[in-house]
């Protein structure tokens, strides 16, 4: 590439010239050509001098004000749109928080009622007195819309079962006795129950939920669309251990 061609391609200077496919070739020429470099330096110096000779012209304040007013409606619109977005996000967050709180409160209320039910029916007789898990499961077959599973638990006596209604939810109630203490195992359709109000623990990699109410411990877990809830005045750790065992046993069904 010769000087004339490079100068034309890089006119008025490498930074402002139109970029063409020959641009890089022209730049390469410029890097290696002292004459061209001197020319572009002189031109840059001339333009710099030209600019320095023109005094700056500042827009008068009333013009600035007028332009500001012209742009105001859109800026206000943008601001109000942004404010609306922020407000909507805040409302959504509050709604989620309130919803979560309500769900948690509602859920806690339900599990408290389970504890109360356990206390109330401590002396109640089973509708079906049986130590045979399969007999109890068969008995429940026509009575619930979910498959009731009755796990046989070591060092725990199975006593019998009854059908109960907890806040209009049908539940299978199975009675056990462990270490001399009565243990109620409620089973409900998972669609009807939220565990959100309980504290979560993980035992052997499986999630469990727990709470304490009026001296009773409650441990729950979900399996195959059924929520198992164990209530007793046993220590919470003992009850959780029992729940863990029940989960393992019922998984084999």
């Amino acid at each position: 590439m010769n000087c004339a061609h490079a100068r034309k391609l890089l006119y008025p200077n490498p930074e402002q010239a139109e970029v063409t496919i020959e641009h890089s070739e022209a730049l390469a020429h410029l890097r290696s050509c002292d004459d061209c470099q001197r020319l572009f330096e002189a031109r840059a110096s001339w333009v710099g001098e030209l600019k320095s000779q023109l005094s700056p012209l500042a827009a008068p304040s009333h013009l600035r004000q007028a332009v500001n007013e012209i742009t105001q409606p859109r800026r206000a619109g943008l601001l109000s749109r942004r404010a609306l977005q922020v407000a909507a996000a805040a409302v959504l967050l509050i709604a989620i928080a309130v919803g979560w709180l309500a769900s948690r409160t509602n859920s806690q209320g339900f599990f408290r009622s389970i504890c109360e039910d356990h206390a109330k029916y401590l002396t109640a007789e089973s509708q079906l007195q049986s130590t045979d898990p399969s007999q109890i499961e068969t008995w429940f077959r026509e009575k619930t819309d979910f498959g009731v599973r009755v796990p046989a638990l070591e060092t725990t006596n199975l006593l019998g079962a009854r059908l109960c209604l907890l806040r209009e939810r049908k539940a299978a109630l199975i009675f056990y006795r462990r270490s001399g203490r009565p243990v109620s195992m409620f089973q409900l359709n998972a669609k009807d129950v939220s565990l959100a109000g309980l504290d979560r623990s993980v035992i052997d990699g499986a999630p469990f939920w727990r709470m304490s109410y009026k001296g009773y411990a409650l441990a729950a877990f979900e399996q195959r669309g059924v929520v198992f809830v164990l209530v007793s005045d046993l220590r919470e750790t003992d009850l959780l251990q029992m729940a863990s065992m029940a989960r393992t046993r019922s998984a084999g069904f």
């Binding site: 000087c3 004339a4 100068r7 034309k8 006119y11 008025p12 490498p14 930074e15 402002q16 010239a17 139109e18 970029v19 641009h23 890089s24 730049l27 410029l30 890097r31 470099q37 020319l39 572009f40 330096e41 002189a42 031109r43 840059a44 110096s45 001339w46 333009v47 001098e49 030209l50 600019k51 000779q53 023109l54 005094s55 700056p56 012209l57 500042a58 827009a59 008068p60 013009l63 600035r64 007028a66 332009v67 500001n68 012209i70 742009t71 409606p73 859109r74 800026r75 943008l78």
Partner: protein, 182 residues
């Protein structure tokens, strides 16, 4: 000489300043360009306000534009050109190939009365000088603003630079003959 990376004239940044910001940030440049193109402050103020109005009206169609600053200047230059055409002051430049001297080496010793030399330029030549030398648009951007091909924009700039140099040289000669000092 510092050789910087090529500026392709495209803006790849994901966040572009909104037009309102560009208008307010560039108001001095818009006003100065309008004055230097028309020579009248009151008219320059009207043109800048009209530029702001048209910019805001066309804000929705601006979404796909990559260079909001060039967009705003294009509106201003359109308004100026329309005004000067009505006044029969805008004469398109007839450029012959020989007039495009890209090897012209200007002389910085002849910088006298630059505003007058710029004012003497035919408006299309004055516009390219103001856009490229003073507003630092690239040739491609200036061409888009003036709605002419980039090659024509480069030729116009070369012609304008030669006229400017001649004008400034003539002033220096006259100034020297009249016995003035720099």
């Amino acid at each position: 000489m510092k050789i910087v990376p090529i500026n392709s004239g495209s803006d790849n940044s994901p966040e572009r300043p909104p037009l309102e910001t560009v208008l307010l940030e560039e108001i001095n440049s818009l006003y100065a360009t309008a004055i230097r193109m028309t020579g009248r402050r009151d008219l320059a103020e009207d043109l800048v306000q009209e530029t702001a109005r048209k910019t805001m009206q066309g804000a929705s169609s601006m979404r796909d534009q990559r260079n909001p600053r060039a967009w705003v200047f294009k509106i201003l230059i359109n308004l100026i050109r329309d005004h000067l055409r009505r006044q029969k002051l805008w004469h398109e430049v007839d450029l012959s190939a020989s007039e495009s001297d890209y090897s012209l080496a200007p002389d910085t010793s002849s910088m006298h009365d630059v505003p007058a030399a710029i004012a003497k330029l035919n408006p299309p030549l004055r516009a390219i000088v103001l856009l490229v030398h003073f507003e630092e648009f690239t040739i491609s951007e200036a061409a888009a603003i003036l709605k002419i091909p980039p090659g024509t924009a480069a030729s116009r700039l070369a012609r304008a630079n030669r006229e400017l140099r001649d004008s400034l040289e003539a002033y220096r000669s006259r100034f020297s003959r009249e016995g003035g000092g720099a």
